[in-house]
Symmetry: C2
Subunit: 187 residues, 2 copies
DNA sequence: TTGCTAACTTGACATGGTGTAAACTTGACG
DNA sequence: CGTCAAGTTTACACCATGTCAAGTTAGCAA
């Protein structure tokens, strides 16, 4: 019963989550409402707009999957290479979990400023992690000569981007482990 | 007069081109019509849908910029590395030219099947070029040991993807030459 | 001149999804 | 018993795409 009937708000978030995970990114507000067993308007009682609902969904996923803890684990590494490895593991594990919502959010970037900001912030956070890794590598002289820390970070961020993952894993048919291995080798 | 008054069709394509190059990807049919000096309905006399217009615009750009000729030049190279270089040059020169329309087309991928197909075809053509390059490199034993031709091609295609370019050049502020150099080094 | 046709214009309308507004129901709690 | 919060139903405004029908206009042919 308690698992059957949590917060309406939570039920909406869960519904959005599962729908976006499976049903492409053209999920409508009414679809989500129906899946949550609630009227379309009720959704607007909890979330002001589609963009806001999507953003809240990403936060919800983060909370449920305890993403912070996993990313924090990668910060514990002592050597630069070890940290690079852990960071790639953590991030690559994260991508498929938010991929559904991420797609929908990316698709809204042109039409909705909030959605754009939210996604850009996420990517900036990831980029920040790349900078930290690049710095550690630079301190240990592990970067290719002539490659600046910022360029190295940018490059790593691009390799690990959701789009890159999408390209290789979903359209070229790589396995998740292929991807992780290849990224580690390249980086 | 003749440069002032070509085909209405051509005027529409040119209008779409310039608008998409500058004005983000939320360009409406009415915007394009206005820019072409024509009524909104007239656009539908020439193109059945927004997707079709966008696709026709990419073809129009290809024709005007003589893209085929430039890509053919990269096929002339004799050694694998040389060919890789030329291919990267040609492709990286191409990206910014179609970037405007490309963005709009990508944004339609979820809602319109024709748009999706058209863009996927383009990307497949690019991927095909990558396979050719990877094959030449493999024949000369220039690939990293353990890296298959198909994986190498996939990787190269991902590095050179429009999204990757977008990430580095437009959001991280790299210069076009930074990008080309870095891609050559990495590849 | 008349008349036909292709290209374009004008204006109206259907569709589909988002978001807003208002009035009604229902259950819990003091 | 009253009231407050959370939902429901119904209706509507908005906006872009795409469709339809009737009218205009230039050019060309008989």
């Amino acid at each position: 019963m308690s698992s059957e009937n949590p917060n309406t708000q939570t039920r909406i978030l869960d519904a959005a989550w599962t729908l976006l995970e499976t049903g492409g990114s053209k999920v409508r507000m009414s679809d989500i409402a129906k899946a949550a067993g609630v009227s379309r308007q009720a959704v607007y009682l909890h979330f002001a707009s589609r963009a806001e609902l999507l953003i809240a969904t990403t936060r919800h996923i983060d909370a449920v999957k305890d993403v912070d803890a996993r990313l924090a684990a990668s910060r514990a590494a002592t050597s630069g290479l070890e940290r690079l490895d852990h960071y790639i593991d953590a991030w690559c594990g994260y991508i498929p979990e938010i991929y559904g919502v991420g797609r929908a959010l990316m698709a809204m970037q042109d039409s909705d400023e909030d959605a754009r900001d939210a996604w850009v912030n996420r990517m900036n956070a990831m980029h920040h992690g790349c900078v930290a890794v690049a710095k550690m590598l630079a301190d240990e002289d592990k970067l290719r000569p002539g490659l600046s820390v910022s360029h190295a970070a940018d490059l790593l961020a691009m390799l690990l981007s959701v789009r890159g993952w999408e390209d290789l894993v979903t359209t070229r048919g790589w396995s998740q482990s292929d991807y992780i291995e290849e990224m580690k080798t390249l980086a």
